[in-house]
C-alpha cells in the first residue's frame, strides 16, 4: 500500500526523532541521519519498518533525522506520521496502538 500524502512528525530536540514520509513506488527507502547511526541505525529502521508493516505500507520514502531517541519515542513518532500520511489522524488505529 502507498500513503495518501506527505506527512511529518517529531522535532529536532535532543532525544526526539523527526520522521517524514513521502510517496514512493519501489518499496521502503530510508534516508537516515543520526549521531548514533553506527550503533543504532539498523534498530531505528527496524522500529519504523515494524510500524509501517502494521499499517501494510510497503511503498514509501522515509526521511529520518534522529536525535538519540529511545525506541518508544521512535515508535510513537512513527505511528503519528503514518496516521497523518494516511489521513487517519482522527481515527487512531487502536489495534496497532
Amino acid at each position: 500500500m502507498q500513503i495518501k500524502q506527505t506527512a511529518m512528525a517529531g522535532t529536532l530536540e535532543s532525544s526526539d526523532i523527526q520522521i517524514m514520509l513521502s510517496q514512493g513506488e519501489k518499496g521502503i527507502t530510508f534516508d537516515l541521519t543520526s549521531d548514533v547511526k553506527k550503533q543504532f541505525g539498523d534498530a531505528i529502521k527496524k522500529t519504523i519498518q515494524d510500524v509501517l508493516a502494521s499499517y501494510q505500507i510497503d511503498d514509501v520514502m522515509v526521511k529520518v533525522v534522529d536525535k538519540g531517541a529511545l525506541t518508544p519515542v521512535i515508535k510513537a513518532r512513527a505511528i503519528t506520521v503514518v496516521q497523518r500520511a494516511m489521513d487517519q489522524k482522527d481515527q487512531p488505529n487502536w489495534e496497532v496502538l
Binding site: 548514533v36 553506527k38 550503533q39 541505525g41 539498523d42 534498530a43 538519540g68
Partner: protein
C-alpha cells in the same frame, strides 16, 4: 598480547615504539636518570626580537620537536600565529608536543598534517576536526596521548625532547621574566608550561605586554628564556576562561552532585584536614557547593584543593573552608584573577601536581577526586578519549593522575541520549578500573568490590542506592537497547599511555 586491563596490544606496536604494556597502577620506587636541556649562554641587555617569523627562522629546523601550552584554551592566539609561520616557511617532519590541543588549534594542525609539516603528535587529547582527521588515518605515525603528569614524566625522562617551546604569556620583560596572572590575557597558573620552560633547549616567549625589567613575580625566569617576541595580542580574554560559573539547574546533574556529596561525606575520608580535586563540569561545580554546606554543617575544613581550579573553589579558600589551593591551571576568570592577590593559591607545575616519577606528587596526598567519564565498563575502566562513534574527542587531562586519590569518584549520567555511559567494555581504556573506587549515576552508585571498606561505609545511607556495576550496566542497556559494535580497521592511529609511560590501550582507525 593482552595487557593487565585485558587490552590486545599488537606486538608490532610494542616492539616498534619500544613500549612495555600496562601492568599496575603502583609505580614503586625506581631510580630515574633525568635529562637536561642544552643551554645557549647569552649576556646581552635584551632578548626582544621583532617578529615570530624571525624567531621561527632562527630556531626551527626540519625534524625538530616543538611545544606549546594550552593555558589560553579557546582564546589562544599564539598557536595559530606560530604554526602559520612554520607552515608557510615550508618546514617538514616536525613533532608537535603541546600540553594539550584546544578547538581553536584544530584546523591549522590538520593543515600542518596535510602538508607534512607535522608528522608526529603527542598531546593530552584532541577534539573536533583534528580528532576526526586522526581517527580517519590522516597521520602516518600514531599520536601519543599522555596525561598531564605523564607529560611531565616524559619530558624529565627525555621521552619528549623539546627543541623549541613557544610559550604565550600575558606579560614579560625584555629578558623573559614572566607570569600568567597579570595583563589583559591573564590566565592564572602557568602550571603545564613550566615543564617546557624548564626542559626546552630553546624557549621563545610571546607576549602582548612588555613590562619594565625586572618583572615579578616571575614564574618563568630569564635564566630559561632565549627570545621574547612582542605581538599585538596573545589571547582573547573572553574565551580564555568561561565567565561566571553558572550553578546547574539540570535536575539530573543536581541529583548526581548530591549523591557524590553523600558519598564523600559518609566516607571515612571526610574529616578535618581532608583534601579534594573537582573538575569543571556542571555536576562537579554543584558538588563543590554541596560540599561547602556539608563542611560548614560538620565543622570540617580541607587542607588543600588540587588541580584545575574554578571560582567556587577559590570561594572556599576565601571563606576559610580550604587552607590552600594548589593550582596547576585555572578554568575561569574568577580563579585566574584571584591568584595574584591570594598567597594561599599556589601555582604548581605539572610534575609537582601529578608526575609519578619524582620524589612525591600532590595527587598521592589526595583524599577525594571527582572525575567525569565518557564511558565506564563493568571492570570500572574509564574512557575519556573516544566518542560513542569511536572517533577521538577527548583528553586524558589529569584523569589518570587524580585517580590516584584515596577515594576516586566517577560522576556520570547512566545514559546520554541513546548512548549508555556504563557499558560492558569501554571503547578505549584510559584510566584503569583499579584506581576507580565509586561510580555515581542518577540511579544509584556502584562501589569497586576491591573496596570492601567503602561498601561498609556507604551501604546504608538514605537516598544512596548501592548497586553492582553490572546492575547499572544492565539498567542502561535496558533503556537504550543493545548497540551494534563499532567497526575499526587494523591500523593503529593513536597510543594511550598510562601515567608511568606503559601502553594501556591503542586507538584504531574508524571504518565508515
Amino acid at each position: 598480547m593482552k595487557n593487565n586491563v585485558n587490552r590486545e596490544i599488537p606486538d608490532k606496536i610494542l616492539n616498534e615504539y619500544h613500549y612495555e604494556d600496562f601492568q599496575s597502577t603502583d609505580f614503586l620506587n625506581p631510580v630515574i636518570q633525568r635529562v637536561a636541556p642544552k643551554v645557549t649562554a647569552q649576556a646581552g641587555p635584551s632578548k626582544v626580537v621583532d617578529s615570530i617569523k624571525q624567531v621561527v627562522h632562527d630556531t626551527v629546523k626540519d625534524g625538530m620537536t616543538i611545544s606549546f601550552h594550552h593555558h589560553f584554551r579557546e582564546g589562544d592566539d599564539v598557536f595559530n600565529r606560530v604554526m602559520r609561520e612554520i607552515i608557510d616557511a615550508g618546514y617538514q617532519n616536525l613533532t608537535l608536543a603541546p600540553s594539550s590541543l584546544t578547538n581553536v588549534m584544530n584546523d591549522i594542525v590538520v593543515e600542518a598534517i596535510q602538508k607534512k609539516t607535522v608528522t608526529n603528535i603527542t598531546s593530552s587529547g584532541m577534539r573536533g576536526s583534528l580528532g576526526d582527521a586522526v581517527s580517519h588515518g590522516a597521520l602516518k605515525n600514531p599520536v601519543i596521548f599522555r596525561s598531564h603528569g605523564n607529560r611531565a614524566r616524559a619530558i624529565e625522562a627525555g621521552d619528549i625532547k623539546i627543541d623549541v617551546a613557544f610559550l604565550g604569556v600575558p606579560n614579560a620583560d625584555e629578558m623573559g621574566n614572566a607570569n600568567g596572572m597579570n595583563g589583559a590575557a591573564a590566565f592564572g597558573s602557568l602550571g603545564y608550561a613550566l615543564m617546557d620552560a624548564q626542559y626546552a633547549n630553546q624557549l621563545v616567549l610571546i607576549t602582548d605586554d612588555l613590562r619594565p625589567y625586572p618583572n615579578t613575580p616571575a614564574s618563568i625566569k630569564q635564566t630559561q628564556v632565549d627570545y621574547v617576541v612582542k605581538v599585538d595580542k596573545v589571547g582573547d580574554p573572553d574565551k580564555i576562561g568561561s565567565g561566571a560559573t553558572r550553578f546547574t539547574k539540570d535536575p539530573k546533574e543536581l541529583k548526581i552532585a548530591k549523591m557524590v556529596n553523600d558519598v564523600i561525606t559518609h566516607s571515612a575520608y571526610f574529616k578535618d584536614g581532608f583534601s579534594f580535586q573537582t573538575g569543571s563540569g556542571g555536576a562537579a561545580l554543584a558538588v563543590t557547593r554541596f560540599l561547602r554546606q556539608a563542611m560548614i554543617d560538620n565543622q570540617v575544613k580541607a587542607s588543600f584543593a588540587l588541580g584545575g581550579i574554578t571560582k567556587p573553589t577559590v570561594d572556599l579558600l576565601n571563606e576559610g573552608l580550604v587552607d590552600k589551593v594548589m593550582d596547576v591551571q585555572d578554568f575561569d576568570k574568577g580563579a585566574a584573577s584571584s591568584m595574584k592577590s591570594s598567597p594561599n593559591q599556589q601555582e604548581i607545575d605539572a610534575s609537582w601536581y601529578a608526575d609519578p616519577a619524582n620524589k612525591g606528587a600532590m595527587v598521592d596526598k589526595l583524599d577525594v577526586a571527582i572525575l567525569s567519564a565518557l564511558e565506564i565498563d563493568t571492570d570500572f575502566n574509564v574512557n575519556v578519549m573516544s566518542g560513542s562513534d569511536g572517533v577521538i574527542r577527548g583528553a586524558i587531562g589529569g584523569h589518570q593522575d587524580a585517580a590516584m586519590a584515596n577515594l576516586t569518584i566517577i560522576s556520570a549520567p547512566l545514559v546520554r541520549g541513546r548512548i549508555a555511559t556504563i557499558v560492558p567494555k569501554v571503547t578505549t581504556v584510559i584510566t584503569p578500573g583499579d584506581s576507580i573506587d565509586v561510580v555515581v549515576t542518577e540511579l544509584g552508585i556502584a562501589i569497586n568490590p576491591k573496596r570492601q571498606d567503602l561498601i561498609g561505609q556507604l551501604d546504608k545511607v538514605p537516598g544512596l542506592p548501592v548497586l553492582t556495576i553490572d546492575e547499572l550496566q544492565q539498567k542502561a542497556e535496558k533503556l537504550v537497547g543493545t548497540p551494534k559494535p563499532l567497526e575499526f580497521t587494523d591500523r593503529v592511529v593513536a597510543l594511550a599511555e598510562y601515567r608511568d609511560g606503559t601502553l594501556i590501550d591503542v586507538i584504531k582507525e574508524v571504518k565508515d
